[in-house]
Amino acid sequence: KAGEKKAGEKKPAQKKAAEKKPADKKPVEKKASQKKVREKIKKPKKYHASRNPVLARGIGKYSRSAMYARKALYKRKYTAPETKIEKKKKEKPRATIIKPVGGDKNGGSRVVKVRKMPRYYPTEDVPRKLLSHGKKPFSQHKRRLRASITPGTVLILLTGRHRGKRVVFLKQLGTGLLLVTGPLVINRVPLRRAHQKFVIATSTKVDISGVKIPKHLTDAYFKKKKLRKPKHQEGEIFDTEKEKYEITEQRKTDQKAVDSQILARIKKVPQLRGYLRSTFCLSNGVYPHKLVF
């Protein structure tokens, strides 16, 4: 109701502003029409209180049929608006098709069913699966990101070949993994994906507000490629086609494009470059639960 009222008030305000230009007679007429429009919009829907007085909890005075008459439902018959599906459904597809048939003395055509009956029924019917609720496939899962991780945060990688390295966070990808870069010149960490759970977020942030990350850097770009098409048994089963990973030229150009922007920001903060070069380690007397990152 409040929304409708506001909408009604806005409309006359806009109309009045536009109409200051033409002659005075016109705005008078238009104001009258505006008033009608306003009244129509302003009238709130009034719902009648229950027409069925309560005798005891859950028990009304009037029966179903009596209530039908009291509510005048004979006058109020609504049909649901025709949905798009229903509109589409009106066109019934053809059940049979006439197909031409070759050969002598065959009668030129046959009437063929478009949708045929199944040619096989299993001996035991597959039991009906129980209803499940809210079991979504991975692609539809909700991706969460810790509040401490924002674009530009320095993260400490804990697993993988780059464990202990301090790295700059760029963005979260579609599958929820974090896109991260060394930058490469500083600590030999390329544009890479990292998992949120295996990362410590420090409170040090680099200002990445204007950095443009190319849009083709998605999960598909970073996914590991597997080439295996043994149409026939290979002579040497252990000889996989892709043994060594080769850095493609596209990766190099993307790395340069992103890193050049970030390095400029890193240089502005004193000692940040050396910080990113160093690795994180624990020593005697250092307890992670007592450290402030």
Partner: protein, 145 residues
């Protein structure tokens, strides 16, 4: 042997409890274990407090026993206890400890680099002095010969 005594007006530092880390003045002694204590300039209401959680400082204020809060406050501000306390080594150590605990990872790195540089400078100077003394010793040995 003992230099700091529990007396009326002694400023004490509360070491644990709800008011840990604050300064209070002892207004009166209740019994063997408790004192009536008041900290108008440090946010501690007038209350009984066991001696166990108090650690005596070097400061003593002058006011009569069971003086009301206004008097305690006046004496406190006259002696400027808050500033004197901040200047003591005790308070500075506490502050340093807090800062160390709040250090972030980046801060720790910066501290490490600063320490390294400092130690390098110190070692350099020491080595210079060592060289001087060895040279002197060598010279005197030669002369004796």
């Amino acid at each position: 042997v003992f230099k700091r005594f529990v007396e009326i007006g002694r400023v004490a530092f509360i070491s644990f409890g709800r008011h840990a880390g604050k300064l209070v003045a002892i207004v009166d002694v209740i019994d063997q274990n408790r004192a009536l204590v008041d900290g108008p300039c440090s946010g501690v209401r007038r209350q009984a407090m066991p001696f166990k959680c108090m650690q005596l400082t070097d400061f003593v204020l002058k006011f009569p026993h069971s003086a009301r809060q206004k008097c305690v406050r006046r004496a406190w501000e006259k002696e400027n206890i808050n500033e004197k306390w901040a200047a003591t080594r005790w308070a500075k150590k506490i502050e340093a400890r807090e800062k160390k605990a709040k250090m972030t990872d980046f801060d720790r790195y910066k501290v490490m680099k600063a320490k390294k540089m400092r130690n390098r400078i110190i070692k350099h100077e020491i080595k210079k002095l060592q060289k001087k003394t060895t040279k002197k010793v060598k010279k005197t040995e030669k002369k004796e010969k």
